[in-house]
Subunit: 571 residues, 2 copies
Amino acid sequence: MDKLTRRIQTAAGEREADYVIKNGQILDSYNLEFIEADVAIIDGVFAGIGNFEGKHVIDAKGKYVVPSLIDAHVHIESAMVPPSEFARAVLPCGVTTIITDPHEIANVSGAEGISYMLQDSENIPMDIYYMLPSSVPSTPFENSGAILSAEDLKPFYEHKRVLGLAEVMDYPSVANTSPSMMKKLVDAQSKKIDGHAAGLDTRALNIYKSAGIGTDHECITAQEALDRVKRGMYVFIREGSVAKNLKKLLPAVTERNARRFMFCTDDKHIDDLITEGSVDHNVRLAIQEGLDPLLAIQMASLNVAECYHLSTKGAIAPGLDADFLLLNDVSTFSIAQVYRAGELIAEEGETKRIETVTPSKRITNSVHLPKLTKEHLHLAVTDQEANVIQVIPNQIVTEAKKFTVNRNDNNGFVSCYEKDLMKLAVIERHHNTGNVGLGIVKGFQFKDGAIATTVGHDSHNLIMAGVSDEDMIKAAEVIQEMQGGLVVVRNQEVLAKLPLPIAGLLSTNDYHSVVRELEEIELALKEIGAPEHFNPFLTLSFLSLSVIPELKLTDMGLFNVNAFRHISINE
Amino acid sequence: MDKLTRRIQTAAGEREADYVIKNGQILDSYNLEFIEADVAIIDGVFAGIGNFEGKHVIDAKGKYVVPSLIDAHVHIESAMVPPSEFARAVLPCGVTTIITDPHEIANVSGAEGISYMLQDSENIPMDIYYMLPSSVPSTPFENSGAILSAEDLKPFYEHKRVLGLAEVMDYPSVANTSPSMMKKLVDAQSKKIDGHAAGLDTRALNIYKSAGIGTDHECITAQEALDRVKRGMYVFIREGSVAKNLKKLLPAVTERNARRFMFCTDDKHIDDLITEGSVDHNVRLAIQEGLDPLLAIQMASLNVAECYHLSTKGAIAPGLDADFLLLNDVSTFSIAQVYRAGELIAEEGETKRIETVTPSKRITNSVHLPKLTKEHLHLAVTDQEANVIQVIPNQIVTEAKKFTVNRNDNNGFVSCYEKDLMKLAVIERHHNTGNVGLGIVKGFQFKDGAIATTVGHDSHNLIMAGVSDEDMIKAAEVIQEMQGGLVVVRNQEVLAKLPLPIAGLLSTNDYHSVVRELEEIELALKEIGAPEHFNPFLTLSFLSLSVIPELKLTDMGLFNVNAFRHISINE
C-alpha cells in the first residue's frame, strides 16, 4: 500500500499510527502558540493533530514539541568532517535539515567533490540540500584544483537535493554581466540563488536582486539588513566561529518583517559546533537578546522552509516531515530529544553512528607537491624595505606594511623572532605545477618551527608559515604524506598533526577524534610560542584569499588587493 | 541582448530604464511601510529602488504605489465571459494575476475546455494561472459532458501556467482513498493542491492536509479558519456574489498569523465584479472592518505569491514583475491606475480591448438537445403527496417538501401559480442521450412563462422551470438555437435572452453587452412575476447540484442528497 493511502488512513484514525506524541505542548508554528493535542506520525510524516492512538507513544509530558531546526547556509567543510559525520555532530543541536554550499571541496575536486558530498549525505538521518558553488575558482590570481563552468553545474540541477546556485560572491562579474557569470545566473533563474552581499550598497543590492539573487548572510548592521529585506531579499542572521552578527542584526527584526529573516552558521568549526551548538545557538542568543522565543523558533524552521520552497519542512502539521524536538524549556531552548522523520535520532548530545561513503581515490589523492628544497623557499630581498603582510587578530583582512628585513649571504630573507617577521609560502598542490609563492608575514610571533595546512581559502593550496626553512620543508613532507591536513613542526619533529585526506579538507575520523587532534594542535602551537588570543591556523588559511584586503599571498605571488595586482617583495 | 543583462545594467544606472516611478509613496511589502524612492522598470520588471532616470516618468505625486492584487481562487465561468474578457473587466479592479479553476467548462468540454481557457489567456495583460479540475464529473448521479481522469490531467502539468490540482471537493473519495482520486493526488504531490473543506471537522482536516491539500476557501467561521491555519493550510477569505465570509473570518487574522491568509472571490458575476470589484473589494472591506491597510494589501498580493510559489509576484522589488497600482488613497483603496508588466493597462475603470481566441467548433457546439415534445415533459403523479424541491432564497441548499399537486386527465402534473408549484426539468444536453429528469419546485412564484439555462452546476445540463410546458419547449428551442445561455419565455415569446455559445457557459460578446443582457433578463423576470429578493437563474443553476442538500434534480431524476440516492416523485 502506498504511503499516501497509509497516511490518509492514519489521519482518519482507521490505521494505527507508528508513533503518537502525547501530553506535550505542541508548537503551532502558523498561529504562533502552543496547543495541547496528540500528534500522529506514520512513515516518518505527521498525519494529524487531535486524538490518536499508535504503536508507540512518545511521551512529551512536561515537554515542548517544536519543529526541528534548519541551518539556512553552512559550509560543511569548515567543520573538517564529511557530511555524514557533520550530521552526527550537529543532529544533537536539533538541526535536522541544512542548506549547504560545497564551495571548498569544489575548489579542490570540482564536480567530483560535489558528487561526493551528495553521495555521502544520501542515506543519513539529516536532510542536506545543496546549492551549487558559483565561483570556482574565486579569482584568477591563484591556481585552484578545479574550474566549474555553468555547463559543469547544470547537470546537478537534476538532483532532487540541489536547490539552486550558491552564494554569488563575485559581485564585479554580476555588475559587469560577464558572460560566464550570466550563464550561471540564467540557468538558475527558476531555482534559488543565494547572495554574498558583504558591504554592498543599495545600488549594488539593486543589481544583485535584479539578477535574481534572493538571500544574503553577510549583513553586519541592522540598516544593511533592512535595505536587503526592503528589496525582497531574505536575510540570514549568522553566528559562526568567526563572524557573529546576531546582536547587531536583531534590532532589525519586527513581528511585521520577521518572515524575511532566518538563521545560519556559514562557517563553524567542529569544536565550536560541539561546545556552542549550530543554529540552536542563534535561537538561544536571540531569545536572550529579547526576541519572542516562538518567533525565534519560527525563524529557524518555517521561514527557511518557505525561503527554499521546502514544502514538507518547518512545522508540525499533517503531511509534513516529522522532524521535531522535545524541549525541556523554551526560553533556554534546552533540547531533550531530536526526532527526524519520526525517529529518535539524538538524545543527550549523542547521535548514533552514521554510515559514511568512502570517497574515491581521486578525492583522497589531492595533494601533489614538488619535492621541496631550500631553493624553493629562497626569497631574494634587497636592502630596501620589503612588503610585509601584517595579520590582524581575529580578522581575515590584513594590512600591507613595509619593513627592513634580515638577509643571509645569498640575499635570502631570514626569519627573525625579535622582529616577528616570518616566512610565508603558498605552494600549488593540485597539479604539481611547482608554483611557489613566497612572502613575509608579521604577527604570528613563533619562536621557532613552522605550521602548514592545505586549508587555504579559496583554492586550498598548501600554505605555510615558519621561522625555519628546514621545518617548513618537513611540514610540507608531512602534509604530502597525510594527503592534506594541519601540522606543527619544530626542529624537524612533528609536534601535532591533523590529517585531512579528503580533498585536503576533511578528516576520515569521527568528529570526536578531530576535536582531540585539534586540541593537540593547540598545545603544539603554544609550544612554538603562538599567541593565544587568535587562532594561527584560521588566520593562515585566509592569507591566500585574494578577494579580501589588503595584502595576500597566492601560489602566483604577493597580491595587493587594493591595487588588484601581484607585486614583488621589494616593490 | 538578453533581458537579464539589460535589467542588471538598468539596476546599475548604466542603462536608461523604460519607466521610472517618481514622487510616490512606495509600499515596502516586506517591512510593511511606505518609503520614498524612485522605482526603475525595464522589460516589464522592476530593476531597482533608489534614484533612477528613464525614458518615461510615471509621476506618482500624491499617490501610493502598491503591488497589484492576486485573486487566489476564482472560477472565471461565473462571470460568463472568456478569460480574455474577464481580464478586461477585472484589471480596473487592480487585479493583474488570478489563480483559476476551469471546473465548469471542464465539466462540459473536458480537456478541450481547459486548453481553450489556457489559449484564451495566453497573450493578454493578465497573468492567469490554472489549477486542474479535480472532480469532473462531480458526482455519478448525473451525466456531464466530460470525464477527466488523472491520465487526462497529467499532460497539463507541463504547462507553465498550470500550478497544481484544483479544489478537491470530493471529500469521501479522499477519505476512502478511492483509486481514481489517489492517482490525482499522487500526481500533484510536488505541485499545489487546493482544498474545498466546507464544514469539514478537525478529523477531516487532518485527512485533507495529510493528503497534501494545502488551501481552503470555504471557511465560514473564525474558528474554522484557525483550525485550518493550525494544520498548515492557507485560508482564502472569500467575498463572492453569494458567499460572503470576510466579516466572520477577519477576527481570526492577527499580525502573527496573517501570512497564512489571503483573499479570493471564488464565484462572482460580471455585474458584481463591475459594481463592487474583485478582491479589491475584500481589501476595502477588511480595512473597513479594522484591518491594517498594509496588512490587507499584503494579504492580497505577497501572501498569494508565496502560497503558490510565484516568486516574481506580490511586491515592488528588483527582479519582480512590475505589476502595481497607483492609489489615490490607502484607507479607501481608491485605484487611480493599474500597471501590469510595467504598462498602464487600466485607468478610470476601463481596460483597452484585449484579443480573444476563437474557440473551436466543438466548444461552441456543445448543446445537443432532443426535439422536445409535451411527452418529454409529462410528469406522471398520483393522488399521493409529491416530493417537491423547496428553494431557499439566496442559498444553494434546498428543502425536501411534500405537497398534494394538481393533475390533468392524463395524471400529468400541472403547474399551479396559486400553490407556487412549478415544473422543473433537467435535460441532458451534451450527448443528446434524451435523458430528461422531471420534478416539482416551489418558491419561484412565476405567474406564467418559463426560464431555462445551460448553466446548471456542475454538469451544466439544460435546466428549466416553468408554469407552461409550451413555454418550456420554446425555451429549450431558443437554448438550442443559441447553443446555450439564459432565456425567459412567456406565451411562446422570448422576453429576454443571453446567448452563451462557448460551452453553454460563456458569452462571445464583450462584458458590457453581457451586463446589458443580464439587465434585460432581470426585467423579463419581473414581468413573469419572479420575486426580486433573490436571483431565480442563480438559484435554478444550483438545483441540479447533487452534492448539496437536500433535494435536487439531475438528468437522471430526483436525488435526495441526505439519502444519497435517486427517488421517485411520489415515493
